[in-house]
């Protein structure tokens, strides 16, 4: 396989990129100055080398703690629970949330063998038990599995004496947070209700 084909194949593995687009991207890079391609490859290498899960919340991080956990201006008494690290971005883009996050790493899914132990729920309960947290906002997806996960979290966290809220209706049923626009998320956040 030629170098061109190899790169095209790598591009085609990325989400949203078909074979034709992949080949267009390769030819585009070859027409541009060499430095551009090298900068792109350097950026990819840097991300691969440096990004890891935040030790506290599971968000993408460049050092032990992510930018949110290491920001002293964030309200650490307000904890927002999301399924995946990219959901943190969806909520951050609203600009309306000043608290901190906890990334579960998925949602309860018995058919996939995903129970509470497979998610970072034990770690979440540690945080709720030891940090001074006054409210947990459950922002799992609006799917059946996301909803069941929210109910499970409510059942386990409320006995610890901490308020548990859920994003307001308005997130379309069945949709992933990732695909919901910022205004809708901001409204759902503002209108969150105690479970």
């Amino acid at each position: 396989m030629s170098a061109i084909d190899r790169l095209a194949e790598d591009f085609a593995r990325l989400p949203g990129i078909g074979r034709k687009t992949a080949i267009r991207l390769v030819f585009h890079l070859m027409k541009r100055p060499k430095e551009e391609a090298l900068r792109l490859s350097g950026s990819i290498r840097e991300v691969a080398d440096t990004i890891r899960p935040c030790e506290r919340c599971g968000n993408f991080a460049e050092s032990d703690l992510c930018e949110i956990c290491s920001n002293p201006g964030r309200d650490t008494s307000l904890l927002c629970v999301v399924e995946e690290a990219y959901d943190v971005g969806a909520i951050e883009r609203t600009g309306q949330f000043r608290g901190v996050f906890h990334v579960l790493g998925g949602r309860l899914s018995p058919l996939d063998g995903v129970g509470p132990e497979e998610l970072s729920i034990p770690r979440l309960l540690d945080r709720v038990g030891s940090d001074a947290i006054s409210e947990v906002i459950v922002a799992t997806n609006a799917s059946v599995e996301g909803e069941a996960t929210a109910v499970y979290l409510e059942n386990t966290i409320r006995p610890l004496g901490v308020k548990v809220t859920r994003l307001a209706r308005g997130i379309p049923v069945g949709s992933d947070l990732e695909y919901v626009d910022g205004t809708t998320i901001a409204e759902a956040l503002a209108g969150r209700r105690e479970m």
């Binding site: 018995p110 059946v144 069941a148 109910v151 499970y152 626009d181």
Partner: protein
């Protein structure tokens, strides 16, 4: 390529790409069917909120008989099952029904299994909480029997002698049912008392009055039977999920029943 329309229950879905999902349905007319749903991941996608686990609806798909993966044209919900998500034990029970139904391998019409599954999901959704485990056991055993794995409770699977009313037997998974007291001496499997045997028979007869005295022990028996006969010894994931939720504090056996 043809177009088919059939009643169907969505049992599983996973993300295939940025925009698409693969859905696994139990259909009335074609058994288990895998369908690609393009554009279904984005919010306000073409199928609205009907693409949700455990929903019953009308499925229309483009079908090529030689393919394992068909293409979704439309799915409209006739029976949403959102309340299953509001109660984790019900959610776990519905997942067991789904996992067992997905073991069905026939490709022809399967109306009895479809109705049993549909009924089972309804029952697990609405039954009063204290009755939940007994109801789940009854519905799963019914489904297992409809899939063609009805255990033999009488006569003895080893010697063929009819069991007496109070006789202590043993459940022999490999033999597909109960052994009498003599054959149980050195046989494999858990001991099974006369009450447990009677309850098992009631569950298989879908008797709504069944009182299950040790539901967790019955659940283990059911899990072992399903694992042995339907899943080719591969452990089922949903049983473990439910058992973990219920905790490990029940050491009851089916022997003294």
């Amino acid at each position: 390529m043809g177009v088919i329309t059939t009643s169907a229950i969505l049992l599983r879905s996973f993300n295939y790409s940025e925009t698409s999902k693969v859905l696994r349905f139990f259909t009335r007319d074609h058994g288990v069917m895998a369908v690609m749903a393009k554009g279904s991941r984005k919010s306000h996608g073409r199928y609205g909120g009907s693409i949700e686990t455990f929903v019953t609806g009308e499925l229309t798909a483009y079908v090529r008989p030689t393919r394992d993966l068909q293409t979704l044209k439309d799915f409209s919900a006739t029976r949403p099952r959102r309340p299953l998500a509001a109660h984790v034990l019900r959610f776990a029970g519905a997942s067991i029904l789904a996992e067992v139904a997905l073991e069905h391998s026939g490709e022809g019409p399967a109306p009895e299994i479809f109705e049993r599954l549909n009924h089972g999901l309804d029952a697990v959704e609405v039954v009063d909480e204290p009755e939940l485990l007994a109801t789940l056991l009854r519905e799963v055993w019914g489904l297992v029997a409809d899939l063609g794995y009805h255990p033999v409770l009488d006569p003895c699977v080893q010697c063929g002698r009819a069991l007496e009313a109070g006789e202590m037997g043993r459940f022999d998974f490999g033999g597909g049912g109960v052994r009498c007291a003599q054959c149980a001496e050195d046989g494999p499997g858990p001991r099974l008392g006369p009450n447990a045997r009677r309850q098992l028979r009631q569950m298989l007869d879908a008797d709504p009055s069944v009182q299950v005295s040790h539901p967790r022990a019955h659940l283990r028996l059911l899990e072992n039977f399903v694992t042995y006969h339907l899943a080719g010894s591969r452990p089922l994931r949903t049983f473990k999920f439910l058992a973990d939720l219920l905790g490990q504090d029940d050491s009851g056996t089916l022997e003294r029943m």
